[in-house]
Every structure is written in structure tokens, then in C-alpha cells.
């Protein structure tokens, strides 16, 4: 009998594997991308394309990756090489993409740590503007923007005005990134043994926080406005092809396919683990969490929108009272708009003096401002939190949840790199697995310091939008074609029968062989067309003078051209003004 010296480590129980996959799949995208898509594409109606895509491509591809990992019992490079020696590159592509993801994803965790640590103060630092030098008012940049925006762009990032200006490292961010990587190392140092312990917490605690936030959210004043807005389906959006494309890509990226993490996780399974049922369960949990998180997000949106709307009405009320010296009881929040039109008619000259400051307050307009990504998580949410009673508690809870979601996903990302490395016999002969894991984390940390510089947020945007989008579609497309046509669907069916005891039914076979490849191919073509038609890429840069985000061209020459044109216009208009004086 061969007593293998080092049997492949495995999960202590199938539950650990399921929790690890849930922890990996349920990440920040469920919280900040799905609610945005819901809002953009017709509220409740978006669930139709979303669920359809889940069944057409999400669940089948997820199941396929789990099957491959469980059968081959190797990381992505080894698994694909076993399928065909010419496909080793597919595994390498997965590892490289995971590497990119590891580099920039942990920066979000660093930001979450920064915000979490800053929540332990009597007054949240993003609740009030800092006072200026002679204490007569607040700093101008903060006054014009808002305290939350100021805190994010100036104090957290100390952002420069374009990607070309590098600035120095932000020491606070660098420290937080260091902490984030040390914690990741702590979680993966013993491989699946340590990861298996951690996922009990990282997979379940975010749901506790989400549930608490749900209760808090729906009891906030004005929350119902947001939830109603979200769930009112605008079915005409279904006619827009962009809706279907976004649903497909969201399912695809949300499940984390193509990175090699799923193959890595399932390679530690027992041979007879029922991955088919688990695949369905995990995908449904992932989508369910997205919907759950968007209810929470929209109740908070509703609260924030109502708060802003009521502040706007209050400002207009004060403006009218002060300009016309009326008593305070004469105008109330309800009849402000009526009074404004009345005053415009009765005292047109005096009204003209304040006409420039009159804003049109609209709850719809406030709700329509859809935000996604880091802007949602760090600006919109923190603005809502600062207005809640006991804001420090809610802030701490929220950022702990973000951290757990982010860390859970990081576990999968790093496992996708270290599992193939551990399969390389040459490496394991000289270095222990702890050292290999440590070296990977150290390398990612050192490269990740670039994202903590003053222009780091712009680099983050580049990586977020380009590092793992097109390449993943290509990788998974090749994966599904390889399994169905190179390895052979029949051979794959027999392997599954060997593992599970029954053959996959017609649903799986049709999806794997026909539907998913077609969908993936059309998404891939769409992305390429979009990229070609896009022209020079642009990004949102924070302009210190205008104190808001402006669209900046990635090509510096174009920026210079724009500046020259603006300069010429300015000179021309001032000459004309001088001549006509």
C-alpha cells in the first residue's frame, strides 16, 4: 500500500468548502455594483434578465469549474495541463489575472481599515469640515464639496489632479495596506486548514450585519421612498440591450469564474463530494445576497435622498425668510415652493436679487443620482451614516462588514495563486508552504504600495476596469470549449458519474455545450466592439479648483489641447469685454 507522505490537504467538512465559496463569491460587487445596475435598468424589472442569465450561464459554468477542480485535484495550471498539455497556458492566464486582482483588491480593504479606525472618535471625521487657519469658517475645498467627499478625496487618498502626477506615498494608506496583507497571510498561512477555520466567520458575519442594517435601514425616515423607487419596475428598460449585457456580465463577474479560485477550492474536496448541488446552492445564495444587499442600499439611498431634499427645502425657506424679512412661522417646509412663486409675482425686483441662489428641490432628482463602486461605499454610505443617531456604532459595523466581504474574496484570490504554486514539485522541495505563501503576500504588498500613492486611486480605476474583464471572458470561453470539445463532453460526463454516481442531466449538457459558449462569445465580441469604438479612454479625476470630479482624458496631450482651447477662449472673451466697456 502506498502511504503517501503528504496527502493533499482537504477541508474538514463539505460545509467549510461551501462557506469558502460563499465567502469568495459574495463580495463587494454584491453591495456596490448590483444595486447600481438595478437602479439603472428599471428597478425590480432587472431581476428578470439577471435570474435568466443566472440559469443560462452562471450556474452551469460554476458547476463546471468545481467539477474540474474536484476531478483533477490540482490547481488551475495542473488541472488544465492534465486536460491537455497545450492548455497549460489557460491555467497560467488564470493565475496572472488573479495576481492583478490581488494587487488592487486589497487596496479597498486598506481603505476600509482606514475608515474603520477613524470611526473611533467622538465626532466622525467626515461629519464636519475642518476649520480654516483663522477659525472664521471651514476649509474652502470642504465647504464647496461636502465633508464626506473632502474626507475621501483629500484626507483618505490625498488625491492628485491626474494620473500623471504621482505625488508621494500616503503613509496612513501604506500602513493599512500592510495590515491588510498581514491579515491575509494569517488566514492562508496553513493553506486550506487555516482558511477553513476563517471562512466560518467571514461567510456568516456579513449576513448578521446586513440583517441589522436592514432593520436600521427600513426604520429610517424616508427609507421607504428609496425601496419603493427600486422595486417599481420600469419594464421598458428590458428592451434596452445594455440591460441584458449588464445582467450577463454581472452574473459572470459576481460568481468569480475564471480566476482559478473555484478550481483551487474544489481541488481540496473529497472525490465524491456532491458539487452539483453545492454549485446551485452557492449561486443562489450569491444572487440572493445581491438582492438583499440592494434592499438595504436602497433604504439608505431613500434616507439620504429624503434628508437632502428636506435640507434643500429648509435652505430655500431660510433664503426667502431672510430676503423678505418675513416671520418664521409664515413659511413652512410644505409651502416653500408655493411661496417662491408667490414672491416672484408680487416682488419681482427683490426676488431677482436672490434668483441665482434658488434651487429646485426634487426628491426624484436626489433618488436618480445613481452611484456605484468606491463612491457608493465610501462617500454615499458614510454620508448616510453620519446622519444616523449613534453614528460611530453604525460606522464600525458597516466597515467591519465591508472588510469581511473583501477579506473573504481575497482568500479566494490568493488561494488561486498559491494552490498552483504548491503543485510545483520543484518549489515545494526547497521552500515550505508557509514560506511560499509569505513570499506571494510580500510580493503583492510591495507592488501594491503603488496604489497608495497620491495618484493611486486612478491606477485602481484602470485595474478595476481593465485587469480582469476582457481576459476573464476569454479565459472562461476557452475553458468551456476545451471541456466540451477538446476533453470531450462524454468523457466529462463519465468523470462526473464517477464522482457523483449519476450522469449530468440534459440541462447541464445543453448549457455547457451550446448556450454558455454562445453567450460568452457574444459578450466577448461586444466588449471588443465597445473598446474599439470608445476612442481615447477617459476617467474621472478630482479637480482641486473646481472641487468636483471632471472627465479627464487618459492621454495627456489631449488634456493639454483642451487647456489651450480653454485659455484661448478666456483671452478672447476678456478682450471682447474690455473693448465693449
Amino acid at each position: 500500500l502506498i502511504m503517501s507522505k503528504e496527502a493533499r490537504p482537504s477541508w474538514d467538512s463539505p460545509m467549510q468548502f461551501v462557506l469558502a465559496c460563499v465567502s469568495y463569491a459574495v463580495g463587494l460587487g454584491n453591495v456596490w455594483r448590483f444595486p447600481y445596475l438595478c437602479q439603472m435598468h428599471g428597478g425590480g424589472g432587472f431581476l428578470i434578465p439577471y435570474l435568466l442569465m443566472l440559469f443560462l450561464e452562471g450556474i452551469p459554468l460554476f458547476c463546471m469549474e468545481l467539477a474540474i477542480g474536484q476531478k483533477m485535484r490540482l490547481g488551475s495550471i495542473g488541472a488544465w495541463t492534465a486536460i491537455s498539455p497545450y492548455l497549460g497556458g489557460l491555467g497560467i492566464a488564470s493565475v496572472v489575472t488573479s495576481m492583478y486582482l490581488c494587487l488592487y483588491y486589497n487596496v479597498i480593504n486598506a481603505w476600509s481599515f482606514w475608515y474603520l479606525f477613524h470611526s473611533f472618535q467622538s465626532v466622525l471625521p467626515w461629519a464636519e469640515c475642518p476649520v480654516n487657519a483663522n477659525r472664521t469658517g471651514y476649509l474652502e475645498e470642504c465647504e464647496v464639496a461636502s465633508p464626506t467627499q473632502y474626507f475621501f478625496y483629500r484626507e483618505t487618498l490625498n488625491i492628485s489632479s491626474s494620473i500623471d502626477e504621482n505625488g508621494g506615498l500616503h503613509m496612513g494608506q501604506a500602513l493599512c495596506l500592510l495590515l491588510a496583507w498581514i491579515i491575509v497571510y494569517l488566514f492562508i498561512v496553513r493553506g486550506v486548514k487555516s482558511t477553513g477555520m476563517v471562512v466560518y466567520f467571514t461567510a456568516t458575519f456579513p449576513y448578521v450585519v446586513l440583517f441589522i442594517y436592514l432593520i436600521r435601514g427600513v426604520t429610517l425616515h424616508g427609507a421607504w421612498n428609496g425601496v419603493k423607487y427600486m422595486f417599481t419596475p420600469k419594464l421598458e428598460q428590458l428592451a434596452n440591450p445594455q440591460t441584458w449585457i449588464n445582467a450577463a456580465t454581472q452574473i459572470f463577474f459576481s460568481l468569480g469564474l475564471g480566476f482559478g479560485s473555484l478550481i483551487a477550492f474544489s481541488s481540496y474536496n473529497h472525490h465524491n463530494n456532491d458539487f452539483e448541488k453545492q454549485a446551485v446552492v452557492i449561486s443562489l445564495i450569491n444572487s440572493g445576497t445581491s438582492v438583499f444587499a440592494s434592499v438595504v442600499t436602497f433604504s439608505i439611498y431613500g434616507f439620504k435622498a429624503t434628508f437632502n431634499y428636506e435640507s434643500c427645502l429648509e435652505r430655500m425657506r431660510l433664503l426667502c425668510l431672510n430676503a423678505f424679512d418675513l416671520s418664521e412661522e409664515s413659511i413652512s417646509a410644505e409651502n416653500v415652493t408655493a411661496w417662491i412663486s408667490h414672491l416672484n409675482i408680487t416682488h419681482p425686483e427683490r426676488f431677482a436679487a436672490i434668483a441665482s441662489k434658488i434651487e429646485h428641490c426634487s426628491l426624484e432628482a436626489e433618488l436618480d443620482t445613481a452611484v456605484e463602486g468606491t463612491g457608493l461605499a465610501f462617500i454615499v454610505y458614510s454620508e448616510a451614516i453620519k446622519n444616523m443617531p449613534l453614528s460611530q456604532l453604525w460606522s464600525v459595523l458597516y466597515f467591519i462588514m465591508l472588510l469581511l466581504l473583501g477579506m473573504g474574496s481575497m482568500l479566494g484570490n490568493v488561494t488561486a495563486i498559491i494552490t498552483p504554486l504548491a503543485d510545483i514539485k520543484l518549489l515545494t522541495r526547497f521552500l515550505s508552504s508557509e514560506s511560499i505563501n509569505g513570499l506571494v503576500c510580500l510580493l503583492c504588498l510591495l507592488l501594491g504600495f503603488g496604489f497608495t500613492s497620491r495618484s493611486g486611486s486612478y491606477w485602481f480605476t484602470i485595474f478595476n476596469e481593465y485587469a480582469a474583464t476582457l481576459s476573464l471572458l476569454f479565459i472562461v470561453f476557452i475553458e468551456v470549449i476545451s471541456v466540451c470539445y477538446i476533453y470531450g463532453l462524454r468523457r466529462f460526463e463519465r468523470d462526473i458519474e464517477d464522482m457523483l454516481g449519476h450522469r449530468p442531466n440534459w440541462y447541464w449538457k445543453v448549457m455547457w455545450a451550446v448556450v454558455s459558449p454562445l453567450l460568452l462569445f457574444s459578450l466577448f465580441i461586444f466588449y471588443i466592439i465597445n473598446y474599439i469604438q470608445g476612442g481615447t479612454p477617459t476617467y474621472q479625476a478630482w479637480d482641486k479648483d473646481l472641487v468636483r470630479s471632471v472627465k479627464t482624458f487618459a492621454n495627456n496631450k489631449l488634456n493639454q489641447n483642451e487647456k489651450n482651447i480653454k485659455m484661448k477662449k478666456l483671452v478672447k472673451s476678456s478682450i471682447i469685454r474690455i473693448l465693449t466697456m
Partner: protein
């Protein structure tokens, strides 16, 4: 005669009103009592105005260190429903002479806190147009609170990693010692007796499939 007497009686307040209305040294004051206090709001009446004038006189006294300012030195005009009005401060020596704007501003800024408290209002709800509020100074910490929390967390994590690594190292060392110890004992026994059978007592034995009790495959 009667006209002269009447003129004498009504002239000072008329003159006073002119001083207040036409002057450049006046400040407009605006109170938002309902906004500031909600249900606890008090009615603005002559007595409240009296209190205001006396707090301003108090402010002028403190600023100039002269105890000669009285409530008659504070003139008020342009009362509106908003509860806003204009005030000027006359000099103690000459009632027709006004205190310059800058002096009044300094006096108000110095004592804004006391004036606010007298009316249970704040810088937002009791406004002196043209006098910027003095905001409270930012708190300067010796060590930023976030660094303290960071230090605690990173310390705990570092301890965790060191503990894990130590346990791994000690486990490996123990395994190595066990293997080395066993192999030594084997050789010793063989050298002593020349039989290898007694060495079997230490190990768990070798699993020989030929003599397996497992009749999974052959059912007779």
C-alpha cells in the same frame, strides 16, 4: 411754547433713530428663534429686546474695560417680523458720536459665546451680518486615535502569526525527532537480538492486503 416742549421731548428719540438708520457703523442682527428652539421657542417682545441691548452693553464694557456703557448707548431700529434689526452703539462721552464698526465687531466676537447663551441660541441661529463666527479650535491629539486602534489590531495579528508559525515549527521538530528516535531504536534492537520481530511491537504494523478481512469483492 407747547410746540417747543413737544420738540424737546420727541427730539432725542428722533435723533437717535436717525443715528441708527443712516449710520455706516451699524450691524444687522437676525434671530431664528423657532428654528433654533422649536417648541421651546419664546416670544420676541420688548423685554427680549431689553435683554439684547443689555448683553451688547455688557460686551462693550468687557471689550473697552469701561464700566460706563449703559443700555441707552445701544440704539436699535429697522425691526422686522423676521426678528431682525439694526443696532448701533453710541459713545459714552458723546451721545451723538458712534463707536466705529471695527470696535463693535471685536467686542461682539470676543463675547459671542455669552450673547448666544443669553438667548439659548447658537452661531447659526443668532447671526450678526458681517461678523464671521469664531469656530471652536480643532482638537489636537498627541497620538491620533486611529493610530492607537491600528497599533492594537496589528499587534494582535502579529502575535497570531508568530504563534501559528511557532506551532508549525515545533510540530515539524517533534515529527522529525520522533522519526529519528524510532529509526535509532530499530537499529539498536536488530543489532542486539538479530531478529527484526521485536521491532514490530513499536510500529503499528504493515497492512498486508492479501490477508484482508474485507470481503467486499468476493462473496461466496
Amino acid at each position: 411754547m407747547l410746540a417747543g416742549v413737544l420738540l424737546l421731548i420727541f427730539l432725542p428719540p428722533l435723533v437717535a433713530k436717525d443715528l441708527c438708520k443712516d449710520s455706516q457703523d451699524g450691524f444687522k442682527v437676525r434671530l431664528s428663534i423657532k428654528t433654533g428652539l422649536g417648541d421651546d421657542a419664546y416670544e420676541w417682545n420688548e423685554s427680549e429686546m431689553f435683554l439684547f441691548r443689555s448683553t451688547l452693553a455688557y460686551a462693550m464694557r468687557k471689550h473697552s474695560n469701561q464700566d460706563t456703557y449703559t443700555i441707552d448707548n445701544i440704539l436699535v431700529c429697522n425691526d422686522t417680523q423676521r426678528v431682525s434689526f439694526v443696532f448701533v452703539v453710541t459713545s459714552t462721552d458723546d451721545p451723538d458720536q458712534l463707536i466705529p464698526k471695527e470696535q463693535v465687531e471685536l467686542a461682539v466676537r470676543q463675547n459671542k459665546h455669552r450673547i448666544n447663551n443669553a438667548f439659548l441660541l447658537s452661531d447659526m441661529t443668532l447671526e450678526f451680518m458681517g461678523i464671521p463666527p469664531t469656530l471652536s479650535a480643532p482638537i489636537i491629539y498627541d497620538t491620533e486615535p486611529w493610530l492607537i486602534v491600528f497599533g492594537v489590531v496589528i499587534g494582535a495579528v502579529a502575535v497570531g502569526i508568530v504563534a501559528l508559525l511557532m506551532s508549525t515549527v515545533s510540530k515539524k521538530r517533534r515529527a522529525k525527532e520522533k522519526a529519528a528516535g524510532l529509526s535509532e531504536e530499530d537499529e539498536g534492537i536488530v543489532k542486539e537480538n538479530g531478529t527484526a520481530l521485536s521491532s514490530l511491537g513499536r510500529k503499528e504494523g504493515v497492512y498486508n492486503q492479501a490477508f484482508s478481512n474485507d470481503d467486499r469483492f468476493t462473496k461466496l
